[in-house]
């Protein structure tokens, strides 16, 4: 089960669902005058527009990296190999995404080991035999000189390629967790706030217990029991972060419950479920949206720290946290190998900063009084 949940194929299904859901939300929002006006206000700002474009690019890359196929295996002559008994084409078990396909030049341009950005020669010396048979230690020339924007890593992979592959992981952590968090937070928050009483007591108790454990500790406990992996990480991050949103939504629901338009509905005999889901929830969605966007960037940052601490997505999945973890050894070398860390820094910063800026713009346009930490 654990392995299935962490399999490439399963995650891809999730990513595609996530993107479809996002598209559906956009469609629904476009119908509503409120959201159209809100986004007009958001997009009035230049920074918000730029951020949105950057975030979209990240989204597209993550999507490209999630749609793929299993290439047929070829023999040395380039012939497609078939199974001897069934006649079916044999396929590479390692899936290949559209992104891999597009980045084939980058992927294929492997070196032997470290090389600095735009270098022509390898970073480390090697014993080379020249034609005369004399061996000497020198920096061998690269197979693909001046082609590596962020250099290559220990086994000669292009660092830019690795950083690009990290995008998908980052987006899944940020996006899928949000997907897990939001429905629960809305459901529990609205029920607790609207009904009050024992239901409220129970929900409050549950989120107080969960939030009383410092989140990094709870994540540690969970991850050590369930083992490293992208899905586990999303689940536990979801568990630790729904409480905050739920608390806010509960409070907001209690305020809305006293609003006269809700009372008018009650006096009208409109059913409680209808009041909760067609009157209260739409009036909470702006908070959900702001929290989701700002929470997204927080989760991308956390992933790096957790992966560094060894309770993240695990070594099998390419992630920025993993890159930073690798970089630790590299930084201790002399002279230092700085580019892998730098690439992780650039890509993370490039995602988190626009997410923060866009979240801020959303908050200013939708609910300037909402206090976010």
């Amino acid at each position: 089960m654990k392995y299935f949940l962490n399999s490439w194929a399963f995650q891809n299904v999730l990513v595609v669902l996530l993107i479809l859901l996002l598209a559906w939300i956009v469609m629904v929002m476009r119908q509503s005058e409120y959201w159209r006006a809100a986004f007009r206000r958001v997009f009035k700002r230049k920074l918000a527009r730029i951020s949105f474009v950057i975030l979209s690019i990240y989204c597209v890359i993550a999507l490209l990296d999630s749609v793929g196929f299993n290439q047929p295996l070829r023999d040395t002559e380039g012939q497609v190999q078939c199974s001897a008994d069934t006649g079916k084409v044999l396929r590479d078990e390692q899936g290949m995404s559209l992104l891999d396909y597009i980045l084939t030049p980058l992927r294929a341009s492997k070196e032997k080991t470290y090389s600095a950005p735009f270098a022509t020669h390898q970073f480390t010396k090697e014993t080379v035999m020249d034609e005369t048979g004399n061996s000497s230690r020198k920096y061998p020339a690269l197979k693909h000189p001046r082609r590596h924007l962020f250099g290559t890593d220990k086994v000669g992979n292009d660092v830019l390629y690795i950083a690009l592959k990290g995008i998908r992981t980052g987006m899944i952590i940020g996006g899928m967790t949000t997907l897990l968090v939001v429905p629960f937070a809305i459901l529990f928050g609205v029920f607790a706030g609207y009904f009050g009483g024992w239901l409220d007591d129970i929900i409050q108790y549950v989120y107080t217990v969960l939030s009383s454990i410092p989140s990094v500790l709870l994540i540690m406990a969970f991850m050590i029991v369930y083992g490293q992996g992208l899905t586990q990480l999303c689940v536990i991050m979801g568990i630790t972060s729904w409480t905050g949103l739920c608390r806010v939504l509960r409070g907001e629901t209690m305020k809305l419950r006293e609003m006269e338009y809700i009372q008018a509905c009650e006096a009208m005999g409109v059913s409680k479920l209808k009041i909760m889901f067609s009157h209260i929830t739409p009036n909470l969605m702006h908070i959900v949206l702001i929290t989701a966007v700002l929470g997204f960037s927080g989760r991308v940052l956390s992933e790096a720290v957790l992966s560094y601490l060894g309770i993240g997505v695990g070594a099998d999945t390419i992630s920025w946290g993993g890159m930073i973890n690798d970089a630790r050894m590299e930084m201790a070398r002399s002279p230092i190998v700085w580019w892998k860390l730098f690439a992780a820094f650039v890509f993370m910063f490039g995602l988190v900063l626009p997410a923060n800026l866009f979240g801020d713009a959303l908050r200013d346009a939708l609910d300037p009084r909402l206090r976010t930490e």
Binding site: Q263, A267, M268, N283
Partner: protein
Amino acid sequence: MERLKLKSDKNILEVNDLQTYFRTENGVAKAVDGVSFAIKAGETYAIVGESGSGKSVTALSVMQLVAKPSGYIAGGEIVFNGDDLTKASTVAMREVRGNQISMIFQEPMTALNPVFTVGNQLAEVLALHRGMKKDEARTYGIEMLDKVGISDPDKRYDEYPFQLSGGMRQRVMIAIALACRPDLLIADEPTTALDVTIQSQILDLIRSLQKEFGMAVLLITHDMGVVRENADRVGVMYGGRIVEDASCKDLFDKPSHPYTQMLMKSLPSRGNRSKVLQTIKGMVPQPTEFTQGCRFNNRCPVAVEQCRQESPILENIDKEHTTACFMLGKDGVADLSKSGWMAEEESPVVEKYDYSCLNVESLKMHFPIKKGFFKKTIGHVRAVDGLDLAIKKGETVGLVGESGCGKTTVGKCIVRLLDSTSGKILFGDNDLSTLSGSTLKQYRRRIQMIFQDPFSSLNPRLKISDTITEGMQAHSVGSTKKERRDIMFKIMERVGLDSDMADRYPHEFSGGQRQRIGLARALAVEPELIVCDEATSSLDVSVQAQILNLLKELQVELGLSYLFISHDLSVVHYLADRVAVMYLGKIVEVGDANDVIENPQHPYTKALIAAIPQVDDDNRKRIVLPGDVPSPSNPPSGCAFHPRCELATEECSQKMPSLESISGESNDRLAACWKV
């Protein structure tokens, strides 16, 4: 020693062509756009106007306290004691504030800093402007608190604002404002947030201190009655400009600007009870949408092309009486009679039925006060404590009382937004308080409610067509969507909304229109009784009149009964057939509206009625009630009113009086008092 200043001809404050603008998302809002007036030493100058007229911004401009950075003074001068404050430095301005000009605000509950003691906040201003040391300030501060009528001043000096009632806090605000004996006090709606009995205490206090200190007062208000009883001179503001400026007497005797005349006519009062209220069409414009020319032109019955093109300026029509209007007659008064506006129309007579629509019997609503981990109930707030009320079909019953008396709770119990603690709510043959589930739902459509706040009473995310048809859907009024929309269009037309507004969102509507939408929503399910909870309280006078007329018309057409809950006795007097007066969860007096208001019997009713500032009665007897309304969680023993009653005796504090007939034979006129 006190500086004694008498009324003199010297202008203490002159405002010339003041312009205060705000930068907003929708462009520049010219909140104040060319205001000029002058205040003489020692006099009270009132600026009266509806919401959005710019009256509060004018006051803040004088203090140079307009919210920065969006607001700024774009032009004009404010000359105070010979200095132009618009040119004063920040430091010089700080020397003026709180020292030569002081200000008190509308919301006493939030105007004081909650974490500092009253004394601290009072001493602060004395230390700043008078350089007083702590002990000196304390002695003087306690003296000030005593002067503003706070009992136990040396104890109160060390208390925090939350320990004081709203009226007391406003007294503290006055003490702080007057501590340095300013030449001018700006009072921005000082009593709007207070109950009417507290309002008269505060206004009396301001008047007496004004006399004692000889200061001038700039009074900002929307209430014509308050103006009439307090002001020496009045400026009527509309659309960021003063349209008429006159002595108080002249203004009320001979209103000349069309707006002033119409405003006075649209006030509900005892004089026009049987008449249709005169209304001003349209609504008060907001600062971002001011039109060219005279700001009133689109609502004015006598406006001509000139009014749309040019802005009139204030011109003398009399000594000390100026008006800004192109359409003034020879006597200096705009003649509205030709426009047909002045024609008085009798209200349609409502058919009264003899059978009752609703009978409330000994209704109680006690809210438990819970404390501690196990939520133990340690007491009850007795919001409604044994209330009887009957409403006949086709009748309007007014339920009147001050804030906290439980009148809104009664309304909510009747529409079953709250489950009453005990008592019966008989509607037809059924006791509503025992119904639940689908039987309750059937009754829900027969009793509807309209609310006070036009801004929170509509879901901002729903089109108004959805808001109106939602109830129909819940009660299967009309079988198809199309059918429901047709019914909706009929109702919208009836309440005065254009059918092309159906697919708009609430934020596109003004307060008055929203109230019409709320009414349409209620009417859509064909109710028999409508509970109106302060339904016109947050509306401007000119818009209020439109809604009141509409309510009367609908009653005639549909045979509706109303329970009209309000704190405003003049509105209730205008609309209601019968009035019930509430005090601390009980009815103290009930009877025919005219009878109760013209000839009140219960001492509380008397005081309540006497406290209302009147526009048309100079000689009313004033009764100022001492103290505040007690807490409903711990009501006084016996008659709950006895601690504030001047007639109270030993008996009142021990035995609770019940509602008894006071008109002899008939049961129409009841009062709960040992002294009637």
